[in-house]
């Protein structure tokens, strides 16, 4: 019994020592994009609730840009409509993620307030999804974007379960977990994410939080901003202006 315990401990220590040496041994690596210096960036996102008209151009652009499956179960970003009635009732809907906007409300009596809330992956600083991945397939880059490695993901769906905001989905054909990448392929070339690009009302704001002149830095500085579910400690980087108490 003692020997089994000892050999298990020994193999862990030795394995750990060899494992930690591996990165030092493999110096040849991913510095092909030497012009893009990750440490200069810390991406953030802003959403101005007052400006959203629920047109769904963002949802459409995202699905096209990133080849997101067209069915109404898979969204990297979507828009929700909140309807608060005077009698305390709350109705939230998001037909096909609002890709073709919304049908007009059937019951318009006794409505206290109604507004649209766009949502997407918050690219949390201390994200629960990266914490639970058993194979190291999902991670947060040094510039603040949470990504999924399609080659390493085994499709266990633990991250989909762990995300408190429901932003991840299981890709039906690739059989991996998928989610918003903040259009990493665009932002690292100086472009905006597709959703920000097409938004007609400047509801969605994007930028580098390390740059005080970027749109998102100005947005966070000039407005009283909130995040979704601040009490659970994920430290999301998607900041909402004028977020209502009923928004989960």
């Amino acid at each position: 019994m003692a020997l089994i315990v000892k050999s298990a401990a020994a193999s862990t220590v030795v394995g750990g020592l060899i494992g930690s040496a591996a990165p030092l041994l493999s110096q040849a690596s991913s510095d092909k994009t030497a012009k893009y210096i990750r440490s200069k960036y810390w991406y953030g996102y802003g959403i101005d609730i007052d400006k959203c008209i629920g047109c769904g151009r963002c949802v459409n652009a995202c699905k096209i840009e990133n080849d997101v499956p067209p069915q109404p179960f898979y969204f990297r970003t979507w828009v929700e409509r909140y309807v608060e009635y005077a009698n305390g009732k709350l109705a939230v809907d998001s037909p096909n993620g609002a890709r073709e906007s919304f049908p007009e409300l059937k019951n318009t009596k006794g409505i206290d307030k109604t507004f649209f809330v766009p949502k997407l992956c918050n690219h949390c600083e201390t994200s629960p999804c990266t914490q639970v991945c058993p194979v190291g397939a999902t991670y947060r880059t040094d510039d603040g974007v949470v990504l999924v490695d399609r080659k390493l993901c085994v499709g266990c769906r633990y991250c989909i379960q762990a995300c408190p905001y429901g932003t991840r989905y299981f890709h039906p054909t690739l059989k991996i977990a998928d989610k918003c990448t903040l259009c990493y392929h665009r932002i690292t070339k100086g472009m905006e994410p597709a959703c920000v690009y097409v938004c007609p009302t400047k509801t969605r704001i994007f930028g580098n939080l390390k740059d005080p002149d970027s749109p998102v830095s100005k947005f966070v500085r000039e407005n009283a901003v909130q995040v979704l579910k601040p009490h659970i400690g994920t430290r999301p980087k998607c900041y909402y202006k004028n977020l209502d108490r009923e928004v989960r």
Binding site: S101, L147, D149
Partner: protein, 158 residues
Amino acid sequence: MEKKDRNEKADYRHVYRIIMLAVGVIVVVATLRVVLTPKSFGKYGHYRADNMDEIMAQPTKYSSGSDTCEGCHDENYSEHEEGKHKGLKCETCHGPAAKHTDDPATAKNPVKPVKREHCGLCHGKKLTRPKNFPQIDLDTHNEGVPCVDCHNPHTPAL
């Protein structure tokens, strides 16, 4: 009780075997770890650093800005810049155009949305929309007539 013969050597072969087994397991596990771990794994953190480059290499479908369109479509562009839709990107209505701007001769042309439903996506009257946003009830306003018949989409105000 029989006294043990002190000249009999103690047999520890069972101990040596299990130590060899443990060493064998350690060697196998350590070798597999080094061999099977992808090269760039662990470079920046507990992930495969090469993946970031793979993701960055994804082709873009929407272009980088409306100024790309201005190069060939300067008439529409200047109309657009003077009109109420000034803040909109061309691709918000016309769809992704990166392929078209790279190769206008052979790539599929971007769409020209003329249906009423398209304008209704933004301008259909909805209670939830901000009050100061221009909206129209499409059920009563010139039913059946394409919006573009009266409103130039690049400078829509009449």
